[in-house]
Amino acid sequence: MLEFLLRRLAAAIVMLLVVGTIIFSLLVIVPGDPAELLLSTGGGSATQEAIQNLRNEMGLDKPILAQYFGFLANTAQFDFGTSIVDGSSIADNIALRLPRTLEIIAVGAILALLLAIPAGTLAGLRGGGRFDVIASAVNALLTSIPGFVVGTLFIYFFAQVLGVLPAGGYVAFAADPAQHLQMLILPATTVALHLATIIFRMTRASVLEMRGHDWVRTATAKGLRRSLVVRHHILRNALGPVITVAGLQLGILLGSTVLIEFVYNWPGLSGMLVTAVEQRDYPTVRAIILTVAAIFIGINLMIDILYSLLDPRVRLQ
């Protein structure tokens, strides 16, 4: 186990190095000058001299290679540096934003799991039955509606027509718990819907598959109660693939909540990234991508470990 972890850690570091290098090079060739952009926000203009002065201040006058090695050295010491736009600490900004993205993902995931696992199980157990047919049809339809469409329609309906929920925005939980929760509902539900369709499909398919295995008949032949057969010999086995898929989706969601955060004005990590790309805030973009990649790798590792715990046939290597 320890050897496994060390090997995975080493692989992760190499991977992050590659990811960091790719993102650094990408940013070098992306057109746009952060200094000029900052001084022309909203259509203004600045003198060339002012722009050059700001570039020097941002440290963009150094040679590219020096910037690259500086970036590697700092990152190796877990120092993300400061934003070249406003000089704020990037680590602090990420620490502020990341939990919010994680919050909508986590709440969405919990809602999705609570909804999709029972529904998927029921549909799988009654494969071909009325519930299965209806649930699968609804699910297929929901899968086909992109998240940003759902979000747009939600805002129109719940905030503008009914006026029961805020149209978007964010208030810290500590500042106003009730309002925080109100603002959380729509984005979390949108994430939940997306996840739920995937988890439902996977659960249903997995339950259907597990039901076909011989050990299920063995369990019934032993005289186990049906509920026990379902729980121990169908669901428990079906869980592995479901967790793998759900976990992978969570990792992907981490950087893909862009549209949801955009539609609901939820100040999460994706929004920060989009702004950073727009402002060409190079260190911030790099730091966010590295953070997301590291979490993604971490989630994959956790899935592997979890899977090995769920299925003893899987060896960690």
Binding site: V30, P31, G32, D33, A35, E36, L37, L38, L39, S40, T41, G42, G43, G44, S45, A46, T47, Q48, E49, A50, I51, N53, L54, N56, E57, V85, D86, G87, S88, N93, L96, R97, I155, A159, Q160, G163, P166, A167, G168, G169, Y170, F262, V263, Y264, N265, P267, G271, M272, T275, V277, E278, Q279, R280
Partner: protein, 515 residues
């Protein structure tokens, strides 16, 4: 279309009357109620989160709004756009090049110390010092000396007379900050103090109790919340999440006008125009640029890109509220496709040509304007391919001349034709100007207008400039934009400043009251 514009203006006028009425009732109320409402927090929906609030840099409209709440300069504007002394109590011109400002006795910085002449000198030096990225650095090179005559008197000497010096002193990029300010902490003397902020999300200000005007501001604080998406910003107002928003989307004007709970204040602010890469290709020829001027039905741009909320602009963009009337129908590009084709043929392109039209996908109005322009250019044979990168790439492409034709929208910072300086003066090329365009005639007229102080002579200079603008076509104007602030009906006292001052409307927040 003029019809709907008038309608919106009337709505504004009605709004003014209404707000006056409410103001009177508020005064009649017992003191307790007044105190209560003055402690309320005004929630202001910004169009973007200010990238920085450095006092002297121009980092966009949202930043300028926030800056005006924290910092003030020697001069300022009232809600009608009238230039008034701000931290200065009075000023006088000793000579055409020497101005003396007398500071208000009560003017105090947020650290509790009085605003002194030394602070003013310090602030001006910060702008003009070596390595500064200040917006007004080049404009203020006309200052040859700034001296503290006594504790509360500053004398500023200019290299030449300047018609716009006082406007510069009222700019949101020319505040007075304390000499005790540091790089990271500039201490201002505005009506509000920074309380807390979160990058990308909100900035919260609280009332500064020692602000020089005793009866201002009327709210306990302002919470600026960023809504980058305009529909969301409006939805937030509609849902009551915020009290006041800037940049009301044009498509929502009707909704606000029809609403019982919302109102708006609008003025003609910035204008849209086309820029050309004149270094080579067809657009190097002024005739081709003129042809473009005639080729576009501007009302369609207004209707399609601005939901009808704008005014076609056929000639020199003299701002609303300008001291001069420069209207000159002889030098305007009214829609005339035949004339455009004739001009093209004259220039040697009877069958038109292919070109690249640069705009940005970041701003819908730029993209939509480009779509209409493209359609009209196609009618005279100019086949334009749209290039819609993000804003950052757009700015770089504009600066490096990687386009044939570009859509842009901009505004000056004060209501004087001189305000077009940064858009027309070739001495400081930027992405705001046609790439490679240089005209000694236009540059000369701009210089003359700036140093001339006699209004009659200035008017003549700018009439010449308008003619030169028409003949040499540094840009093709398209339309004025109606720029609106929308608010709850319970918000009173707020006005949109006219013309190019629209971006400085935050001055009116001093008089704004909540419910």
């Amino acid at each position: 279309m003029t019809h709907s514009f008038q309608a919106s203006m009337m709505a504004t006028r009605r709004g003014v009357l209404l707000s006056l009425g409410v103001g009177i009732t508020a005064m009649a109320l017992p003191c307790g109620a007044w105190a209560q409402s003055t402690n309320a927090i005004l929630k202001f929906g910004l169009s973007t989160f200010p990238p920085t609030v450095k006092p002297f840099d121009n980092t966009g409209g949202a930043a300028n709004t926030v800056k005006l709440m924290i910092y003030r300069g020697l001069m300022g504007y009232d809600a009608s756009g009238k230039l008034l002394p701000e931290l200065a109590e009075s000023f006088e011109w000793l000579e055409p090049t020497v101005a003396v400002f007398k500071l208000r006795a009560k003017a105090t910085f947020h650290n509790g110390k009085p605003v002194t002449a030394a602070d003013v000198v310090f602030s001006l030096n910060e702008i003009t010092k070596e390595g500064s990225s200040a917006f007004l650095k080049s404009d203020l090179t006309i200052i040859t000396a700034a001296e503290a005559v006594d504790e509360k008197t500053v004398q500023i000497t200019l290299s030449s007379p300047s018609a716009i010096f006082l406007d510069l002193m009222a700019s949101y990029c020319c505040p007075v900050i304390s000499a005790e300010s540091t790089e990271d902490n500039a201490i201002g003397a505005g009506p509000f103090v920074m309380k807390s902020s979160e990058k990308g999300v909100f900035i919260e200000l609280e009332r500064f109790d020692k602000y020089y005007a005793d009866d201002q501001p009327h709210v306990g604080g302002i919470r600026f919340i960023a809504y980058a998406d305009e529909n969301l910003r409006f939805a937030a107002l509609e849902a009551g999440d915020v009290d006041l928003i800037e940049y009301l989307p044009w498509t929502q004007f009707d909704a606000v006008e029809a609403s019982d709970t919302m109102q708006m204040r609008s003025t003609l602010g910035p204008y849209m125009f086309l820029l050309f890469n004149v270094t080579d290709g067809p657009f190097a020829d002024a005739k081709v640029r003129q042809a473009v001027g005639y080729a576009i039905e501007r009302q369609d741009v207004v209707d399609a890109a601005f939901a009808g909320r704008g005014v076609p602009l056929y000639g020199f963009p003299n701002p609303q509220g300008s001291p001069f009337d420069l209207t000159d129908p002889a030098h305007e590009w009214t829609f005339d496709a035949e004339k455009a084709k004739a001009l093209l043929a004259e220039a040697g392109y009877p069958n038109g040509f292919d070109c690249r039209l640069l705009a940005t996908a970041t701003y819908g109005m730029h993209q939509d304007t480009a779509s209409v322009v493209q359609a009209y250019l196609a009618m005279i044979g100019i086949n334009a391919t749209l290039d819609l990168p993000d804003w950052g790439t757009r700015v770089t492409a504009g600066k490096e001349g990687k386009y044939d034709l570009a859509v842009h929208g901009s505004s000056g910072t004060y209501n004087d034709p001189d305000s077009l300086w940064s858009l027309l003066y070739s001495g400081n090329p930027s992405y705001l100007q046609s790439f490679g365009f240089k005209s000694a005639r236009i540059d000369g007229l701009l210089e003359q207008g700036r140093t001339e102080v006699d209004p009659e002579k200035r008017k003549a200079i700018y009439q010449d400039l308008a003619t030169a603008y028409f003949e040499e076509v540094p840009q093709v104007p398209l339309n004025w934009r109606v720029q609106a602030y929308a608010m709850k009906k319970t918000v009173t006292g707020f006005e949109a400043l006219p013309g190019f001052l629209n971006g400085a409307s935050a001055y009116a927040l001093d008089d704004t009251k909540l419910g």
